[in-house]
C-alpha cells in the first residue's frame, strides 16, 4: 500500500530531510509468466497497464521497457493537450482523453500539473480561415468547446503576438479551445507507474524485447534481454519502434518513423499564459512552469531512428516564431532534442487487434500522442481485456487501411507531416 501524497506527507517528510519517502514503484525481476505484457513503458504503456489492473482486474501483468520509464517520447514532447479534432471518431477519442485529464491528478494522487490555459490555433490565409472555422463548427457539434477569434480577439487573448497585417503570413484569426492546455509530461508516466505498481503490476526497466514467439496464429511469449517471458497477450505501445516490434512478429504496419524536434529557451518571467499553435508557418509555443519557452518544430522528411533531426527544421521554426513574436528576438535557446514519431498515412493512431491472436498494437500517434495518453491507455486496456475494441476506438483499427475508411486528420494534427 502506498502512502498518500498530501500537504501533510510533504511536511512530515520535510522534517526528516526528505530522506524517508517511500519508493514510488519497484524494480522487480520478470516472472516466468504473465496474463498480459505491455511492451513500452511510456505514458501510453503505463496508462494501459494501470487501466488493465484498475478497470479489468488484470493484475498479473508486466510492463517491459528497454530504457527507463518515460524516457522516450513521453519525456520529449511539448506537453500540449487539446481535443479540437475534425472528425467524429477523433473528437470522441481525444475528448475522452481530455475528460480523464480533468480529474487525473486526483485519481492518481499524483500532481500531473494539468493546466487548462487554452490552446489557440492561428489562421494565416483564407484557406486556413475556412478550414479552422469548419473545424470549430465540427467541434461544437461534437460537444467540444471551440470558438473562432477574429484578429483583434487573438491579440487580446495573447498580446505578444504580432498581428500586423504587413508581415509575410499575417494573423487572420484563430480558434481557441479553453479546456485545452498542458501537463507535466514526466509526472504522467510516474503517476501511472506508481498507480499500476500499487495494484501489483511489474514495471521492468532496462528490458528490451528481442523477439516475439508465435505458435501458429497466436502469441506465446516474448524473448527479452532478461530472458523469455511467457504470455498469451502482448500489447505493443512502442511509438517510433512499433514497426521494429511488428517485424519480430512477421507483421508490417502502415507507419514511417521520423524525427520530430523540440527546443526550450532559457527561463524567463511569465510572458505567455496560453499555448499558441500555427500550422501554416509551423511554430508553436507555450511557457513551462520553470519559465522556459517550449517550442515545437517539425518532422524531418526521411525515416530515421536517431532522435536528432536536422538543423534546417529548427531554423525554419525559429524564423516563424520570431516573425510572430518579435519580443523573443534576443531569447537564447538552451536545449534541443528529437523524438522518433511513428506516423500513419492518415495522421490518426492505430489502437487495434491484429491478425495474430493475442497481439495488440497501440501506435501511429505521430506528432500528437501525449494529449491522448489517459484515453489511449483506457481504450487500449479495454481492447486487450475484451479482445474487442471499445466503441471509441473501433474506427482506429488497423483494417481501415484495407477498407479505405481512413480518419484523415492532417489538418488538425497541427504538425505538417
Amino acid at each position: 500500500m502506498k502512502n498518500k501524497y498530501s500537504i501533510f506527507s510533504l511536511i512530515k517528510n520535510a522534517l526528516s530531510n526528505h530522506e524517508n519517502w517511500q519508493r514510488a514503484w519497484g524494480d522487480p525481476e520478470p516472472k516466468k509468466e504473465y496474463d498480459a505484457v505491455i511492451v513500452g513503458g511510456g505514458g501510453h504503456g503505463l496508462a494501459t497497464a494501470y487501466y488493465l489492473a484498475k478497470k479489468h482486474k488484470l493484475t498479473n501483468i508486466a510492463v517491459v521497457e528497454k530504457g527507463w520509464i518515460g524516457g522516450g517520447n513521453t519525456g520529449r514532447n511539448t506537453t500540449i493537450i487539446r481535443s479540437n479534432y475534425l472528425w467524429d471518431a477523433s473528437a470522441g477519442l481525444y475528448d475522452h482523453a481530455l475528460k480523464i485529464w480533468e480529474g487525473l491528478s486526483q485519481e492518481l494522487n499524483y500532481n500531473v500539473m494539468f493546466s487548462q490555459r487554452g490552446v489557440m490555433n492561428l489562421a494565416h490565409n483564407l484557406q486556413d480561415v475556412r478550414d479552422l472555422k469548419r473545424r470549430t463548427h465540427a467541434n461544437r457539434l461534437n460537444g467540444i468547446d471551440a470558438v473562432w477569434l477574429e484578429t483583434d480577439e487573438v491579440k487580446k487573448f495573447c498580446p505578444i503576438i504580432n498581428t500586423s497585417q504587413d508581415i509575410r503570413y499575417p494573423v487572420l484569426g484563430g480558434t481557441l479551445q479553453k479546456r485545452a492546455g498542458t501537463a507535466r509530461h514526466d509526472a504522467v508516466a510516474w503517476g501511472y507507474a506508481r498507480g499500476a505498481d500499487e495494484m501489483g503490476v511489474d514495471i521492468i526497466q532496462n528490458c528490451e524485447v528481442k523477439g516475439i514467439k508465435r505458435n501458429g496464429d497466436s502469441v506465446e511469449g516474448l524473448e527479452t534481454t532478461k530472458g523469455f517471458i511467457k504470455t498469451k497477450k502482448i500489447g505493443v505501445v512502442a511509438a517510433g519502434h512499433s514497426s521494429v516490434i511488428a517485424n519480430m512478429a512477421g507483421l508490417k504496419l502502415p507507419l514511417e518513423s521520423k524525427p520530430l524536434q523540440a527546443l526550450v529557451s532559457e527561463p524567463v518571467k511569465p510572458i505567455i499564459d496560453t499555448v499558441v499553435m500555427s500550422n501554416a508557418v509551423h511554430a508553436y509555443v507555450s511557457q513551462s512552469d520553470k519559465g522556459e519557452l517550449v517550442i515545437g518544430a517539425g518532422t524531418d522528411s526521411y525515416v530515421s531512428y536517431t532522435q536528432k533531426g536536422s538543423f534546417n527544421i529548427v531554423e525554419e521554426t525559429l524564423k516563424a516564431i520570431l516573425e510572430l513574436y518579435p519580443i523573443f528576438s534576443r531569447m537564447k535557446m538552451l536545449r534541443q532534442w528529437g523524438g522518433i514519431v511513428d506516423i500513419c498515412p492518415d495522421a490518426s493512431p492505430i489502437i487495434s487487434k491484429t491478425s495474430i491472436k493475442g497481439l495488440y498494437f497501440n501506435c501511429g500517434w505521430g506528432t500528437g500522442g501525449f494529449k491522448a495518453t489517459p484515453g489511449s491507455g483506457d481504450l487500449f486496456a479495454h481492447t486487450i481485456a475484451n479482445d474487442e475494441p471499445h466503441k471509441l476506438n473501433a474506427a482506429f483499427n488497423i483494417n481501415r487501411f484495407v477498407s479505405g475508411d481512413l480518419v484523415d486528420e492532417h489538418g488538425a494534427a497541427a504538425v505538417a507531416h
Binding site: S243, K252, V303, K308, F401, S403
Partner: protein
C-alpha cells in the same frame, strides 16, 4: 543532418533533397486484378526498417533528379547511392 552524394551533382547537404520514402515498391502491373489487401500492401504498408533501408531521394533544390540511396536509419550513415532502375546493392 547529413550529406548526400547526388550521382549527378556530387555531395550536398541533406536539406537540398526530399525523401521519397521506401524504394523498390513496384506499381502493380494489373491494377484491376488487385484485391483490397494487395492495394493496402502497395499503398500503405512500409518496412520502416531500423538499419539499412533502400530509399528514393530527389535532389529538389539541385538537378531535380530521382535516385536511390541505401541508408542506415539507426545512424543516418549512407552506405551506397545508386541510380533509378538499378538493382539494390548487396550489403
Amino acid at each position: 543532418m547529413f550529406l548526400i552524394n547526388c550521382p549527378y551533382c556530387g555531395e550536398r547537404d541533406q536539406s537540398e533533397f526530399i525523401s521519397g520514402g521506401e524504394a523498390h515498391i513496384a506499381r502493380p502491373k494489373q491494377p484491376t486484378e488487385l484485391n483490397d489487401d494487395q492495394w493496402a500492401e502497395y499503398l500503405f504498408m512500409r518496412k520502416n526498417i531500423k538499419g539499412v533501408q533502400f530509399e528514393r531521394w530527389n535532389h529538389a533544390h539541385g538537378c531535380r533528379k530521382w535516385f536511390n540511396v541505401a541508408r542506415d536509419t539507426s545512424n543516418d550513415k549512407i552506405e551506397k547511392v545508386y541510380k533509378m532502375g538499378e538493382q539494390p546493392p548487396k550489403l
